[in-house]
Amino acid sequence: MWEALIKIGLLIFVIMTAVAYFVLLERKVAAWVQDRKGPNRVGLPLTKIRLFGMGQPLADGVKMVLKEEYIPGHVDKALYVLAPISILASALATFAVIPFGSIWPTADGYIDFVVAPGFDAGLIYVFALSGIAVYGVILGGWASNNKYSFLGGLRSSAQLIAYEIPLSLGILGIVLTAGSLRLDTVIAQQAETGMWNAFVQPLGFVVFLVAATAEAARLPFDLPEAEQELIGGFHTEYSGMKLVMYASAEFLHMITAAFLIVILFLGGWHFWGITGSGTEITWVTALLRVLVLFAKICLVVFGFMMVRWTLPRFRFDQLMALAWKVMLPLGMVNLVLVAAMVEYFNNAVAEKPLMVFLVMTGLMLVSIVVTAVLAPLGSRNERSPVGDLPT
């Protein structure tokens, strides 16, 4: 009981601080990519120490908290208030089953670095909660009684539902090889063989990476918000603390996506040579595992931010084409490949890891080329047949 409460408190504190600093990192990365310096003035309060702008999240937080809680007159008040609460609550609740380390050895046994240890339906729980997150967006868009918000909500629902499928297909491969829905089992299995799932099923990794980016509504899939088109989309009518709730839920989704990518495909806390693989560990190894996991998370989040400034936003038809014509078939192919491997070459990963990697990468390239030729992502701005347009 106390153990769980301490873990929850610690986790929420760390995660919310991480969100605040990821917002700063996002602004910094944005600035660097655009040849600017980014926020670097706010340091320790009441001093002249600047600390590279590390005080910025605190200043932002104080500003947002002190803002007036304004509810526009034309909104559906109950839903308007409920929407950000539901999205933030579901985003936070996801972390109940996500391991943020391995285990900590104590005198009598060990402490699991997860709020709800031994929860067998971990992955399903994560998916259920990410499904609830859609409600926050749709409710917010609907309750705002604003056309832009509503369009953002609609786009979001279509997008999230479409990308749930490739996301699940990417995970099914993992579930097949690990034989479990528990996230710690998935990590343990990768640590045991030393072959991260990204090497065993690269196709699944690509599908999952794209789908997770879309689920977190990060660019190039940020159509629900699309500042340039929808003035912020579903949160156009929100301000103050409610906007903060939306914004932090968004970053939480990104962190969740990063956690899932790292845990499912990039070996979780495992790193060759320094973290060991079993449960017989010292506190040094336990600490190393936590650090490795967080370093990986930060790298993936940084990758998300770089992609944001690299790729332009998809058009909605391209988004849907990518989900249904490219990602769904690729996910199916991955599932079949992994199923065949598990059925016929069950020990291949342990015995011939290099072989598995090469064969799987080759098959991935082949299937990507085939999909690219059959369902190219290009825009189809072809000339309409004459007389077809309204004149």
Binding site: V29, A31, W32, V33, Q34, D35, R36, K37, N40, M306, V307, W309, T310, L311, I368, V369, A372, V373, P376, L377, G378, S379, N381, E382, R383, S384, V386, G387, D388, L389, T391
Partner: protein, 188 residues
């Protein structure tokens, strides 16, 4: 306009090659570009800590000044061309008979409302005797509106303050034409 109008020039999209269809090479290409910029030289000037470098003071449009001639008199002949050209109507001149032999009029009062000014440089263009010029002073501040209405003495003092760093543009251009070398910047 109808779709079959002969004036419409239809430009078909270029066909995507295999790399374009694959999309992944393009992502790699884009990431290379962003990564280069990530570590590239930053263009931000941390203003109060470091001052921006004015590339060419000859064309920079900062605070105005009223030039003096060789004898230290105000060059302006109160012709009102600048006030007429000014789109913001921020120049106010009261002309009167000149005490000197070589010109008929001179400005008894010459005020520019620096807050109304849009720093377009039209006054400088209009001036027939190169009396009004825009300097490269950019950090113009004041504590009241009255303080920001520059009178003749203030404008002449701006000239005294900047004449060494920025000689009169008519002279600079004449010199540079004589040397047949392009004017050099960095004199701020």
């Amino acid at each position: 306009m109808k779709p079959d109008d002969p004036d419409i020039l239809w430009v078909d999209e270029p066909k995507l090659g295999l790399a374009g269809k694959l999309y992944l090479p393009l992502i790699a290409q884009g990431l290379t570009t962003t990564t280069k910029h990530l570590f590239g030289k930053k263009v931000t000037v941390s203003y109060p800590d470091s001052e921006p470098e004015i590339a060419n003071p000859l064309i920079y449009r900062g605070v105005h000044r009223l030039n003096r001639d060789e004898q230290g008199r105000v060059k302006c002949v109160a012709c009102f061309l600048c006030a007429t050209a000014c789109p913001a109507h921020c120049i106010d001149i009261i002309g009167t008979e000149s005490p000197w032999e070589d010109r008929e009029k001179y400005p008894e009062s010459f005020t520019i409302d620096e807050l109304r000014c849009i720093y377009c440089g039209m006054c400088e263009e209009a001036c027939p005797v190169d009396a009004i010029e825009l300097t490269s002073l950019y950090n113009l501040t004041g504590r009241s509106r009255e303080e920001m209405v520059f009178d003749k003495e203030k404008l002449l003092s701006v000239f005294d303050q900047t004449k060494d760093a920025e000689p009169m543009k008519s002279q600079t251009v004449a010199n540079s034409l004589a040397d047949t070398t392009p004017p050099k910047g960095g004199a701020s």
